[in-house]
Symmetry: C2
Subunit: 536 residues, 2 copies
């Protein structure tokens, strides 16, 4: 009955041709003969009278473009990107102009715009895209996002998002169970990304210890200081600036050569701060740093926080996913002692962007910290249990539905499916590590088996291998990764990140979160670095 | 050639049946016979080997569910919602459980989950959904969101979002031109909603006048005070709490009976604050208040701000769309004198959620305020012009692509299409106003023609019409709107918001932003209120 192959594709092409015919023939029976009259426009779609058929046809045309893109994304013979400089795209490519006009474009042109937008973009789901912590294109997650867009609602009240609000509640509870809080008790919210989730954690800590800041401002509190490691994400620094602490009141902690906080340094700095009359409010421990993928020793940090009555936040934006793996969750040992946790399913768990949660151990703080009791949204006299309205917990008013795709993926994979995905990514990074650790021309940025999928390394081109002058070598090595990366992007074959860190010159940071990647892609990356880098 | 009707729908049903057959027959040739082996799972989809056909089939099944939903959304014979209480949905409806398990569900069940999620939700695009400022389901916007989900990338760098970053730049410039800044000069960013956009404006004002707060915290500044009207959105209050000003340092301004700021009250309060030694930093003028739809007199406010060197922000989250209308843009007269503007295309302009911009007149402030120069993202030694990387302007790290749907809608409608939409919504609200202003049983909350599409009114049921006791009448009237709203939701026929405001008891706030609504829907709403309210 079912014949695989191109039949469905053909089917859609036939439908596509129908739309074109419809577009061109629509007004043939009328006397008008201008060009525009032969084309369909937005005004022919729903809610227009008789708009249903053109609407269905148009949406199917779009879906054809999108499904073609999905197929190509997973096809290793396609490029990861077709790079153009800003001025090239701004000048306009053939048939594709970014300019916005007073007059409408035809639906036919809109479809061209859609195709070209994808053509000049980057295939973040391509098996050879390793450039960010968020990679991959999960089909269930994608379907979830399509549905979310179609439902087009807002998380602020149960009234208009009943199912999504409950899904969020249930999913947050599961996440808290994975963290290890008894019965999954506590609170939380999905926010527009890890930086905002981390900002929430600082706000809640402040509210817990100095609730009067909400009404009286920061001047009502003593000088408050925050602690995080040199290797932590810059969002902690952003939060300290945004919330009125000031970046100078964020104290950076030393790390070992693997990028993990040295607990003794924390304790010394806490004591020092207290001696100066400052009040240590908040410690951020990172579970999976951005560059090295390091896991701070949470238990030892928690001991210090408990002793000095400091809020402990764990930024597991990147590493939180490992909680789903029985093999790797020990790296977050102690996380159950945290007061709050950031965990981004849109990173290691492959959920489409954006999907980030902040989890809070104590109930009521989120609400207490952020509630302003807006009468027009959170009427107390609704007919349902209004404790399900989430809007007053948020710093936002409208809040995008980020939960459905994640919930649907959890349904489709089961907890065990996430576990398999994570174990597989870590195995693949071990494969890369084993492959290059002793390979000619490679130097590892830190010693020992990486804790996460981050593999940090220098590629040393042949011309630098015999170089004795240490400073000249450093300076030249610093330029290698950017040069290789630029060539990679021009050729469009693969993408991987690079950066300096502290006194270390530019090195590659390889990360694996893409379920489509396999060993052949790792081999390809290494071949490509060597091919492009050989003359550097 | 083209026969309208159900052919395409049938076509998809055939394809659907194919998936079911595929699901059931997949393992028939093997010896395994457990139930699971007869079904398809996520693991059969891409990137699985031979995953392409099941992936395409699955996505088409999803699209069929979604297009059916779209058709029904515009069909007035369907309900706006099928209301259930939280406990009912939590207990589980037949075949639909919200619980997350360790084991995966089959794709067949995933499709059921998708169908049921939509079934128990609210059709925010339905012509009779008037509950929020964001309503409607724009087909081009929907297509744009589907594409955005498929591209699944991140706005922080040009590197991985080249086209979207440029679209954002071009669109922000167009918006600044509409505001009236010379040559559209200035800066801006799309943020996750109007509350965050408003928060940005306060942050930037602070950075402009007291840049040292970024490093030293709020204690480095004198006591700063902010001003906004009693009728303004609660997000200004949230910002004052979040950013460390304290809500007590937000001074509320009196309004006239139409909900517009009284400029004399602003000037008096500014002078009073200065006399107390406080520093007036920021004034928010609202263009389109949430409840009354009032437009503060921007020019008069701007005079005061200029005189006292205070940052002027215009919160046009709701009213900004009127800038697109030659007929109505005079209501925002003076907006070109603002230092910053919030404008949410996801409200009056019908763009799917989320789509909110903050516009800033002075270049460089956003960057200066928020930059932390994260080395792993914003490498200075990239091969392209890195001024196109937007990430360091944001308080976020990852940032969702909110621009594409808006850009695509602008292409498809043209500026003139937005103008027509806005003029039409305002005409429709005038129709409602004319219909009820002298109708038996209706009382307007404020006198005179509304400025925006907000129509605020009490419905007075027959039993209250002859009531002389003012206080009893107030108390009973307060309960009417919630009671009618509850019945509306139970019957699922329409939805409209209500709230008290100041000393005014619960009244209905009707708003029109839905392009699908027409006069028949307004008539329906009034009939429905009278039908449901007659025995209140």
């Amino acid at each position: 009955v079912y014949s695989p192959g191109t039949r469905f594709i053909n089917g859609l092409w036939v439908i596509g041709s129908d739309l074109m015919n419809l577009m061109r023939s629509k007004h043939q029976s009328t006397n008008q003969s201008t060009v525009n009259d032969e084309m369909l426009f937005l005004t022919d779609l729903l809610p227009a009278k008789n708009g249903e058929e053109p609407t269905m046809q148009f949406l199917l045309e779009v879906v054809e473009i999108l499904t073609n893109y999905v197929r190509k994304t997973f096809d290793r013979s396609t490029k990861v990107l077709d790079f153009h400089h800003p001025h090239q795209l701004l000048e306009g490519m053939e048939g594709f102009s970014l300019d916005l006009l007073d007059q409408p474009e035809s639906l036919e042109q809109i479809l061209v715009d859609c195709r070209d937008t994808l053509k000049y973009g980057v295939r973040t789901g391509h098996p050879r895209f390793f450039n960010q912590l968020s990679t991959g294109l999960d089909i269930i997650g994608l379907a979830g996002e399509w549905l979310t867009s179609t439902a087009n609602t807002n998380m602020f009240t149960y009234e208009i998002a009943p199912v999504f609000v409950l899904m969020e509640q249930i999913t947050l509870k599961k996440m808290r169970e994975m963290v290890g809080w008894p019965d999954g008790e506590g609170d939380g919210i999905f926010s527009p990304g890890g930086a905002i989730s981390n900002m929430y954690s600082v706000m809640i800590a402040r509210y817990k210890h100095f609730p009067e800041v909400k009404t009286k401002g920061m001047t009502a509190a003593p000088r408050l200081v925050l602690f995080t490691s040199e290797h932590s994400h810059f969002s902690i620094k952003k939060a300290s600036a945004t919330l009125g602490f000031g970046t100078e009141n964020l104290i950076l902690l030393k790390t070992d050569q693997r990028g993990r906080v040295i607990p003794d340094d924390l304790e010394a700095k806490v004591i020092d701060a207290k001696r100066k009359g400052y009040v240590p409010l908040f410690v951020n421990a990172t579970a999976g740093t951005t560059v090295y993928g390091a896991f701070d020793p949470i238990n030892e940090i928690a001991d210090i926080c408990e002793k000095h009555n400091i809020w402990l936040h764990v930024d597991g934006a990147w590493g939180g996913g490992l909680l789903m793996s029985r093999k790797h969750r020990h790296k977050l040992s102690g996380i159950e002692r945290a007061n709050s946790v950031t965990w981004n399913p849109h990173k290691m768990m492959g959920v489409p962007l954006q999907c980030s949660a902040v989890l809070v151990r104590e109930r009521g703080l989120l609400q207490g910290c952020n509630s302003m009791c807006a009468g027009y949204l959170f009427q107390p006299d609704k007919q349902y249990d209004v404790t399900y309205d989430t809007g007053d917990k948020a710093i936002q008013c409208g809040r995008h539905v980020d939960i459905f795709k994640f919930w649907l993926m959890w349904k489709a994979k089961g907890t065990e499916g996430f576990e398999q995905h994570i174990d597989r990514c870590l195995e693949l990074s071990t494969y890369l590590y084993q492959k290059i650790r002793n390979r000619d021309g490679y130097e590892m940025v830190f010693e020992g088996e990486p804790q996460h999928t981050n593999i940090c390394f220098w590629y040393v081109p042949p011309s630098l291998r015999g170089l004795r002058d240490v400073e000249e070598r450093r300076q030249r090595l610093h330029k290698v990764a950017p040069k290789i990366k630029a060539m990679m992007m021009e050729s469009g074959t693969t993408m991987v990140g690079y950066q300096p860190q502290g006194d270390k010159v530019n090195f590659f940071r390889m990360v694996i979160s893409n379920p489509a990647a396999n060993r052949s892609d790792i081999d390809f990356l290494i071949d490509e670095i060597e091919r492009l880098g050989q003359d550097c």
